[in-house]
């Protein structure tokens, strides 16, 4: 094969330059083959490749914007949640305050009612005590009149007039009650 070399000058000469007779062949095949390469690249391969790259870039951009939207939604949700929590807290406080006020009022009413009942019972008890004391005092004056009449009858032998006895006993009782 090597003997079929185009250039006869295998020893001397400069092969890159003195193979001019092969230039048409080299150029012809270069143009034909590069033409094929250019056609294949420009019509099929590169458009496919750049479409794949563009598709990926689009997909990434779409995903990023979707993620940004989702993040925005999440932020809004967090804000709403915070607002709801604050509202719930306020409502809770309000409810608690109302309940406290209600219970305070109930307690006050209950207390005043109990106070009133106690007061009433106290008043009636005092009245009863006063009645009893009056009754007792009436009995005391009766007993004292009888005792006085008896003592006077025993000492003097004559029964005193009931009116005089009642009068003197009343005087003594009045004096002792003022002494008390």
């Amino acid at each position: 094969m090597e003997h079929e070399t185009a250039s006869h000058a295998s020893g001397g000469g400069f092969p890159p330059f003195d193979q001019i007779d092969t230039f048409p062949a080299q150029i012809f095949w270069l143009v034909v083959l590069l033409g094929i390469l250019y056609f294949a690249l420009s019509s099929v391969l590169l458009p496919k490749l750049s479409k794949a790259i563009d598709d990926r870039d689009d997909a990434i951009a779409a995903n990023v914007s979707e993620a940004a939207a989702a993040s925005g939604r999440a932020d809004a949700a967090v804000k709403e949640l915070e607002a709801r929590v604050a509202e719930a807290k306020a409502r809770g406080r309000e409810t608690a305050a109302r309940a406290k006020a209600e219970s305070d009022a109930r307690v006050a009413a209950e207390t005043s009612r109990a106070d009133a009942a106690l007061e009433a019972r106290l008043t009636s008890a005092e009245r009863r005590i006063a009645d009893l004391r009056t009754a007792a005092m009436t009995n005391v004056s009766g007993i004292a009149e009888e005792a006085t009449a008896a003592m006077v009858e025993r000492l003097s032998g004559t029964a005193p007039a009931p009116a005089a006895v009642r009068q003197s006993v009343a005087r003594v009782l009045a004096a002792s009650s003022t002494e008390n």
Binding site: M1, E2, E4, T5, A6, S7, S10, G11, F14, P15, P16, F17, Q19, D21, T22, F23, P24, A25, Q26, I27, F28, W29, L30, V31, L33, L34, I36, L37, Y38, A40, L41, S42, V44, L45, L46, K48, L49, S50, K51, A52, I53, D55, R56, A59
Partner: protein, 253 residues
């Protein structure tokens, strides 16, 4: 022990399938074979990588996307949004040069980009495209690329001459840079590598050690450098294509 140490031998073009058409020799050569391997390798890989496109890419799809984004990034950095229609063109040039350069790094493989016919065809095509697009988009105003703004009138004629030469030298430098880098790199690699058997034969025992301990690490280093150059030249070609196309889109610096 027949070792071919002729550094130029690797650049021989051989006709694998002689074809003659209209008086021209259009034989399928080893150059065409490796161009075809590069082209169909790129198409095959990208077809495989894009056969099952997913939002979460697999390994092949990831690589293809990185590749695409790299080229699209170059175009966007230089031409901004106007450059979008040129992405397939720049991708074609970049990928072909890169893969052809890398294929050339395999021993016994042919480096198609180390030939002026290939590099100058691409360079002339690029500059031709710049002129066509420049005239088509801007008409007569395309000539403004020769007149930088803000230059005083009394010196403008001189600047215009320089600009014209600069413009004319673009295809030359664009094609020559790639060709010379690939050629020089492969020649250097071959010479240094060939030095090892030469030493071993010329200086028994000592030569083997010298070749193994001194020259081989150097060859490994140059190989690594050549991989860098293979990528860098493709990158430079792509960037310069974008820069020149920018002139076509926006003449007047």
């Amino acid at each position: 022990m027949m070792v071919s140490t002729d550094p130029m031998h690797q650049f021989q073009i051989s006709r694998l399938l002689p074809i003659e058409a209209g008086g021209y020799d259009l034989s399928f050569t080893n150059s065409a074979l490796f161009i075809a391997i590069a082209v169909f390798g790129i198409i095959g890989f990208l077809a495989f990588a894009t056969s099952n496109l997913q939002t979460i890419p697999g390994r092949a799809q990831s690589l293809a996307e990185i590749w695409y984004k790299f080229v699209a990034g170059i175009v966007h950095d230089v031409n901004h949004d106007d450059g979008k229609p040129f992405i397939p063109l720049v991708f074609t040039l970049f990928s072909f040069i890169l893969i052809a350069n890398l294929l050339g790094m395999f021993p016994y493989f042919f480096t198609a980009t180390s030939h002026v016919a290939v590099t100058f065809t691409m360079a002339l095509f690029t500059i031709g495209l710049v002129v066509v697009i420049g005239v088509w988009k801007n008409g007569f105003k395309f000539l403004k690329i020769f007149t930088p703004s803000g230059v005083p009138l009394y010196i403008l004629w001189f600047v215009v001459i320089i600009e014209i030469f600069s413009f004319l030298s673009r295809p030359l430098s664009l094609g020559m840079r790639l060709f010379a880098n690939m050629l020089a790199g492969h020649v250097a690699l071959k010479i240094f590598a060939g030095f090892i058997p030469t030493l071993a034969i010329g200086l028994p025992v000592i030569g083997v050690f010298m070749g193994g301990l001194l020259v081989l690490p150097l060859v490994v280093g140059i190989t690594a450098l050549e991989f860098l150059v293979a990528f860098l030249q493709a990158y430079v070609f792509a960037i310069l294509t974008c820069v020149y196309l920018n002139d076509a889109l926006h003449p007047g610096h």
